[in-house]
């Protein structure tokens, strides 16, 4: 078993991996960029090494610097987390060359699945049904026209090297094809350095259902149940759940067996996810495979009782899977909310800044995977994911109830967070009835929110509390009371202290 693991990541996932290391008696090495010195993952690690400027290319994406830290710290393995270098075959190979075990699949498996066109070709060879369209990049506009006419509009143009919704264009009619193809190509070139674009039939209102797979290095591959990830905004997942409300045991087995075939076709080892699009007739089509641990892995952990990061480490250390497919049970229901530092009242504009107050929920059925803490300043240099709040229950209704309760307990001050978005989603009748597809969130956000008038009792309490805070003055002051740069009190310090003195006098009367 490894003695020391370097976590080539930051934020909540780095904390989660460090915790797994400590649970297994393994030392954890953290790396941090200049803006991450006070991060939670640095505080939780056993060793921490600075790796330079905030820009990812200079720090968390810098292969040389990461391997340099691995050598200096004598780490015997590297866990890449998700994002950053987790699906970078060059990095995986560089680790192997440096004699450090990469906790994840082999470079060859990453390559096989990393290009969406190559993955589709592999699916054709393996007899796996995939979303109809081309297997290779489009060579010309004329070819695109022909294929689109054959498979029928609407069609989706997608970047072969793509992800996160970039390089994707939905084409409704032949007249749009030329300009959208050019747009997709140039965006793909800009985002991934590769303008290869292919074409797929666009499934109407699909559900996005993905299957977790796990394979050891001895030829054993299993599926661990599916996750429904249809709630997306601009192709970014916002809320995920396990199991999918529309997948019964039979469909799970069928999708799981296909997912295992896909993993085997790629020579896959360690943890991975096979993504499917499911149409309204419950036909499922291979979409792509993600060759890493995913953000939403906690929902699978909760319904299976398995610790995926522990298993990743054990597989990388050469152990066999400690259970068979038959022993995998799905129990209960879990729903995850991705809490971002974004302003829901201002088009989800990122909201970095200092967290002046944090009242975080806990209690039955609540799991929080977090990288934030009260007093921390959210940097603006990275994806503003604050934490993942997961509700678990014996069934979907209980999971929703617990998560709703936890969201009502959740309070963050000093920055804006998208907590209110989840209250909206969880109270939506269609969501509660599990009527979801990838267009759900866009439709929900388009709805005009009826501004319910302020509850007069709450206003009354607010007035009284405002007065009480004023009377208590500096005694009540937390970080929230520190005057801002433009605060009248700070611009007139004598006035501020007079007010505080008066408050003290009153309080002592």
């Amino acid at each position: 078993m490894f003695k020391k693991i370097l976590i080539a990541n930051r934020g909540e996932i780095a904390v989660r991996i460090i915790r797994a290391c400590h649970e297994m008696g393994i030392a954890a090495v953290a790396v941090y960029s200049d803006v991450d010195r006070a991060s939670l993952h640095v505080r939780k690690a056993d060793e921490a090494y600075p790796i330079g400027a905030p820009a990812a290319s200079e720090s968390y994406l810098n292969i040389q610097k990461i391997l340099d830290v691995a050598a200096r710290s004598r780490a015997d393995a590297i866990h890449p987390g998700y994002g950053f270098l987790s699906e970078n075959a060059k990095f995986a190979k560089a680790c192997a060359d440096a004699g450090v075990k990469f906790i994840g699949p082999t470079p060859a498996a990453m390559d096989a699945m990393g290009s969406k066109t190559r993955a589709r070709q592999a699916m054709e060879r393996a007899g796996v049904r995939f979303v109809p369209g081309t297997l290779r990049g489009l060579e010309s506009f004329e070819q695109a026209e022909q294929v689109a006419a054959r498979i029928g509009y609407p069609v989706m143009l997608k970047a072969a090297a793509g992800g996160g919704g970039k390089g994707m264009r939905l084409v409704h009619a032949p007249e749009e094809l030329k300009s959208l193809l050019e747009a997709a190509r140039s965006e793909a070139e800009r985002s991934f350095g590769d303008s290869e674009v292919y074409i797929e039939r666009a499934i109407v209102n699909p559900r996005h259902i993905e299957m977790q797979v796990l394979a050891d290095e001895h030829g054993n591959t299993v599926y661990l149940g599916e996750r429904e990830c249809s709630l997306q905004r601009r192709h970014q997942k916002v809320l995920e759940e396990a199991p999918s409300p529309i997948v019964d045991a039979d469909m799970r087995r069928k999708m799981g067996e296909v997912a295992v075939r896909v993993a085997q076709a790629a020579g896959y080892t360690n943890a991975g996810t096979v993504e499917f699009l499911v149409d309204q007739q419950k036909n499922f089509y291979f979409l792509e495979m993600n060759t890493r641990l995913q953000v939403e892995h906690p929902v699978t952990e909760l319904v299976t009782g398995l610790d995926l990061v522990h298993l990743q480490i054990r597989i990388a250390a050469g152990e066999r899977l400690p259970f068979t497919q038959d022993e995998v049970q799905i129990r209960g229901h879990a729903i995850e909310c991705r809490i971002y530092a974004e302003d829901p009242d201002n088009n989800y504009f990122p909201s970095p800044g200092k967290i002046t107050l944090l009242l975080a929920p806990s209690g039955p059925g609540i799991r929080r995977d977090s990288g934030m803490y009260e007093g921390w300043t959210v940097p603006m240099d990275y994806d503003p994911l604050l934490d993942k709040l997961i509700g678990y229950g014996t069934d979907r209704d209980q999971a929703i109830g617990r998560l709703t309760r936890a969201l009502n307990e959740y309070f963050v001050a000093g920055i804006k967070a998208n907590i209110s978005l989840f209250r909206r989603i969880l109270s939506d009748p269609d969501f509660r009835a599990a009527k979801m597809d990838t267009g759900f969130l866009d439709r929900l956000l388009k709805q005009k929110r009826s501004e319910s008038p302020a509850d007069p009792k709450a206003v009354e309490v607010g007035v009284i509390a405002a007065g009480i805070f004023a009377v208590l003055g500096s005694a009540a002051a937390g970080a929230g009371e520190r005057p801002g740069a433009n605060d009248a009190a700070s611009s007139n310090p004598r006035a501020a202290s007079n007010w505080k003195i008066a408050a003290h006098k009153e309080a002592m009367r």
Partner: protein, 164 residues
Amino acid sequence: MTYDITIDGKNYRLDLNRAEGRWSCRLDGREVEVDAVLARPDVLSVRIGNKAYEVKYERVAGEMYLWVGSARFAAEVRDPRSLRGRARAVEDHGPKKLIAPMPGKIVRVLVSQGDEVEAGSGVLVVEAMKMQNEIKSPKKGTIQKILVSEGAAVNAGDVLAIVE
């Protein structure tokens, strides 16, 4: 202590006294039975009669907010007796500063000094994290001063413009 408090656009007069750790409270002349305990800085546990509330205090960019449960209210508290209180009251009807909510760059200035603006009309556009954010005027009035120009880098809390 007496305060003039504005919440949700309405004004209230609050008389508050504390004796032997107990509060007595009169809201717009009406007596209210209040029991309040500071749980931790910025967090108040309030009982009104037997109903319980958790109230959080937040100060962002010079504005004060109170959260009663999950409902947020912008609030202003003025002590009508103090000189500063009176000056503050005048100030509230006076010029308002537009503050940069986060670090970024001014990409567009939409108005000029002397322009008339409505509450909510755009004054400047700040860009940060590859997104653009329009800073709007908080009130109807005239642009008294613009303190930044296009291309300027700003920090959170910087005064960008003044509307009077």
